[in-house]
Symmetry: C2
Subunit: 667 residues, 2 copies
């Protein structure tokens, strides 16, 4: 082991830096304006005092900003500091620590003075430390420290010496010029991706553009979609997401209800992308023109709705790529192109890209250009279809590459697959991810899953987007049908997930018939045909959805995932949790009856101290869904939820009821 001149004397150890993903291999995720708390184990041998500093900068900036770190408690060896990520983009941070002989001297001197054992030599040592610091100091500080060093050497009267040596001004000045000759620096830099706030808090509404025509059976257009927008905006959503809007392949086109054979007049699946009219950068002629699409986007922005597009990297057999870039697809020995299959099932309407292509670089660039094209149209949110069937190195490259130019861009990973695969996609760059939420119905499994997502290191890279349904997923729970069933899943999604979404109008109209029992496909799925929806149906969940989104939009507690705490309730059909705003001022308690068929009741126990609710006064729980106010007292409170009326409470907790002394007139 060769030793450089300094490293042998770098006595401080730095370990266990957080936040970090896989020890810094991947960036952690934050949103604009967040305060990032950095922690590290920092210590040295023996009893010398140490100092530590956090260095942070926006990526590309030349200068590091230094923030002194503070110990998190005696004996913990844990230090922390926070800084604010004020801008979109990437930040870096690292940590430094050093043995601080001045701080050691100062600490020990105070002990010696207290014990009356301070001796002349102790002040001489101090004088030397001051003189050395004056060499590192600039301007007035330099000469001032030098004078103070002389003073310590020259003063003979003990009381005066003590006063001089322990002067606060001197202490502060010395901290400005530490001796960092043997500073230890963390052995790597850690990255943070700072996304727009909508990455952390968003309510998504998905609809099929072709199902928006006023006249049943007619192909909807962007003009129809534009007319649909106020309906979505009034329900309080933030993102409107469209399945693919591109030309649909003709060869091997799927018929209704996923029939391998289509009939004339069948519209096919929007995910079978590409035809004579074009591919991933073209628009389906029946939907309209690029100008009409732009008008739709403009209207959405006016209504404060972001538009998300679906990016599905696969080609129908008649996609122009298939001819233009033969080598992006796998050829079989008989000269045919390899279609997608999961033997013995065949998906002949879909050609997957071959990520082992000799021309992978050319293909990557072209695929990136698809994002670039839609970014140029003002689209910044992409729901990526089945990213786990494309090579990981591609995502590892393309997402940071795009975000370098467009730090506002967001990518939602539609991967319903094994946990490690889903987590890897999030690590390499996806901003949000679909989750297993659709299949989590029981209290224990919801609690375990949400705890994993919100309370473990997973949260540093994986941002859940909770969907009760999608065009592919009509869960068995939803197939039971009815207002209570859909209400339960809505309340859970919208309060468990700061990010959530529904596939409508199927959701608000409680569409629940599957093609066949045991499967999750909708009967007469919009994926293969045009549907016409009666949005004004009297039993629509639209008002409830609007109320829930309004509550979300006006309560910061529901705009984050990390503050969730689950609370005890003896009845396993009642799930109970709180969330609060970063400043703690907004506290929301949600209770949901997971049983759609029966009234359930029980006592809920709140940890008052942890929630900072005074134990000696009453507090108020206001149901934001109904406006009812409950006066509660103590940790245990009785609840009864009739799912036929409303399957849950969203309660805003006012931590203490005011008494006479809270008012001005009292004094």
């Amino acid at each position: 082991m060769a030793l450089t001149e300094k490293e042998g004397r770098k006595r401080v150890v730095i370990e266990g830096i957080t936040p970090a993903v896989d020890d810094g291999r991947f960036p952690v995720k934050r949103t604009v304006g967040d305060r990032v708390q950095v922690e590290a184990d920092i210590f040295t041998d023996g009893h010398d005092a140490i100092s530590a500093t956090l260095l942070a900068r926006r990526e590309g900036a030349k200068k590091w900003i230094e923030i002194p770190m503070q110990t998190m408690g005696p004996g913990t060896d844990r230090w922390s500091a926070t800084f604010r990520v004020a801008e979109l983009g990437r930040y870096s941070f690292k940590v430094q620590g050093w043995v601080d002989h001045f701080v050691t001297w100062h600490r020990d001197l105070l002990k010696r003075i207290a014990a009356g054992t301070d001796a002349a030599v102790d002040y001489m040592i101090g004088a030397d430390l001051l003189a050395a610091a004056s060499e590192r100091a600039a301007g007035r500080d330099a000469s001032w420290l030098k004078e103070r060093a002389e003073l310590l050497r020259a003063t003979a009267i003990a009381t005066e010496l003590r006063t001089q040596a322990t002067d606060l001004k001197l202490f502060e000045a010395m901290l400005r010029y530490p001796d960092r000759r043997f500073v230890t620096e963390s052995d790597r830099e850690y990255s943070i991706v700072v996304d727009p706030v909508i990455a952390r808090f968003s309510a998504w509404y998905e609809f099929f553009p072709r199902s928006t025509a006023a006249e049943p059976g007619k192909h909807g257009t962007f003009a129809d979609c534009e007319r649909r927008l106020p309906y979505v905006a009034e329900m309080g959503f933030n993102v409107v997401y469209l399945p693919p809007i591109h030309p649909i392949g003709v060869n091997f086109r799927k018929g209704r209800n996923n029939n391998p054979v289509s009939k004339p007049g069948d519209y096919g699946s929007p995910w079978a992308i590409g035809a004579a009219e074009g591919g991933h950068k073209a628009i389906h002629p029946d939907l309209g023109t690029l100008e009409e699409f732009q008008s739709f986007v403009k209207k959405a922005k006016e209504l404060e709705l972001a538009v998300a597009l679906d990016i599905a990297f696969q080609a129908a057999p008649d996609h122009p790529y298939v001819k233009e870039h033969e080598n992006w697809f796998k050829k079989r020995p008989d000269g045919t192109v390899q279609y997608a299959e999961n033997p013995p099932k065949k998906y002949q309407d879909i050609y997957p890209f071959d990520f082992e292509s000799e021309d992978w670089k050319g293909m990557w660039e072209e695929l990136k250009s698809v994002f670039d094209y839609w970014l140029a149209q003002g689209i910044t949110i992409f729901r990526v279809d089945n990213p786990h069937t494309k090579a990981f190195p591609f995502w590892t490259w393309v997402i940071p590459e795009i975000k370098r130019e467009h730090p506002e861009a967001l990518f939602l990973a539609e991967a319903f697959t094994r946990p490690k695969v889903m987590y890897r996609l999030a690590k390499v760059g996806f901003s949000q991810s679909y989750t297993y939420f659709p299949w989590r119905n029981e209290k224990a499994e919801l609690t375990a899953y949400l705890t994993e997502l919100a309370q473990t290191p997973v949260r540093e890279f994986f941002r859940p987007n909770q969907w009760p349904n999608t065009p592919d997923i009509l869960t068995e729970f939803l197939q039971a049908g009815g207002r209570a069933v859909f209400g339960i899943r809505l309340l859970l999604a919208a309060t468990l997930g700061a990010n959530y979404g529904i596939y409508g109008p199927a959701f608000e109209l409680m569409e629940h018939e599957p093609v066949k029992r045991g499967g999750e496909e909708y009967l007469d799925s919009e994926k293969y045909e045009i549907r016409s929806w009666d949005l004004d149906r009297a039993d629509s969940l639209r008002p409830l959805i609007a109320r829930v989104n309004e509550i979300r939009n006006s309560n910061q507690a529901l705009q984050n995932d990390w503050s969730i705490k689950f609370h005890a309730c003896e009845n396993d059909q009642l799930i109970c949790y709180t969330k609060e705003s970063p400043d703690g001022g907004n506290l929301i308690l949600t209770i949901v009856n997971l049983d759609p068929d029966n009234t359930q009741s029980g006592f809920v126990t709140l940890p008052l101290e942890e929630l900072q609710i005074p134990a000696d006064r009453g507090y108020e729980a206001e149901d934001l869904l109904t406006g009812t106010r409950y006066l509660w007292n103590g940790p245990r409170n009785y609840l009864e939820l009739n799912p036929a009326k409303l399957p849950g409470h969203i309660l805003r907790i006012q931590r203490k009821l005011k008494v006479e002394t809270d008012f001005d007139y009292f004094l």
Copy 2:
């Protein structure tokens, strides 16, 4: 991001490799003959099959040994393989994974055949894969694979084709020549330090050599020590550890009971190392000569006792280093050398080394040469005094540097300090470590602590050595005195710790008077004076210690720390745990009454299935301390322990009682 020609197509992801310390920054620890189980998350995009391999080698070897990894279960994405570390020294390992198109093809073909959808083109694809493999193959395999490829192309009869394509011999041949063009390799190599078995399993006995003279008050010699050895060996210990054997400083020598002022005839503390006669490589003249020391070591070896020496890197004021290497010590402005202090306390008999010395390299080399000197005398075990007051970079350098030449060398860290500091010392190289065991008396705290040490990643680098007492630590529990008190701590140390030690004869003679209550110093401590011990006292714990060590030496279950499992007992004064041998054949259940004053009883509940005890038959628990045999049945069994007799059971479990069918004559 620049991309090399291959990395874009490296589709396999490798993550979460274990065992590893701090993501591979430090080696994990094993002992000779261990099987190392390596695990990793390995997966790829989509549905292609993958293959993975573990590569391992002894450090310095040119060739990697490859061991195919196996999946640990569908959906886990976790793969594993094991290899044996047969020799002392360091090993390295890494992991490779690749998309395996042949395995994919084979898997899918079986599905196609089952569904009757296998087509000619599928066999053509297979033929191409075989042909490509034949290019990678050598000799007969190459031509044979080529032939088989031709056969697949030429065969027209479906049944024959199927037989040929799914031939096991072909499958095995193809696995020998995988296509690893786009292999992914773990992004670092991981290290393993392989120590002698005594690093994992050892019973230490510490005694002061100067207290061994037959005549009370006389200074013991190595010859006396040699005569003491059979006493130690007969108790079944494996390591005999001597406090420092070097000349003791005269200036500021400590008197009896740590008196800052010594009287003529006081012997001083062996840790105040160095005088006119020499320093860390010299022997205290009263103990004898180097030859006499060598004779002592030889005798110990004959008795299968390893000798451990104390290495305390500090100097008495009259240590030759102080004059010869002035710059290894801190000078104060008044020209004096900085003695050790913890203000306002002063330790003027000790000069610490200055690890910020300009000549740190020279100092490091000299300190290393102290180890080298004693290694040359055949000493391979070092108990290092207060390593946490020496700079971490020194240990990080010196231990691997020594072990490079002497992989058999072991280092026990005597650091009773904050957990992160203790763990760091273990990470950078210490083979064993003292622990907080002396102060863990209650069931909950023992369970929590042992679980942390044996069941978390801590165990990969930190090997506990459990001591109930040391010359510095007479705990308040021991101060209560009596056979039960000492018996409890002995049974716990010897069964909780595969490595444990006692400071004797103080321990077996139940020495328990402190200098003052509230402290942990022994009255009339051997650290400052010569003691004379009556080894033949009738109440000595010697027989119990001998029995316990005999049990340890003959039961593999007690020779490891990792297998420990704690079991339920309603009585909080009874602690109950099992350990088993690596092959599971030896199962030991220990139950200790933690209350030295009262008989305690209760039901112990064993998880029969987890312990592989058949639930439908009786089993036997044989108390190895007394020879009593208990016939038990079912998970719950009643126990009663009278500490006045014996405070614990060490029960060997025979998992099932034999019945008629277990014997040859039955059939």
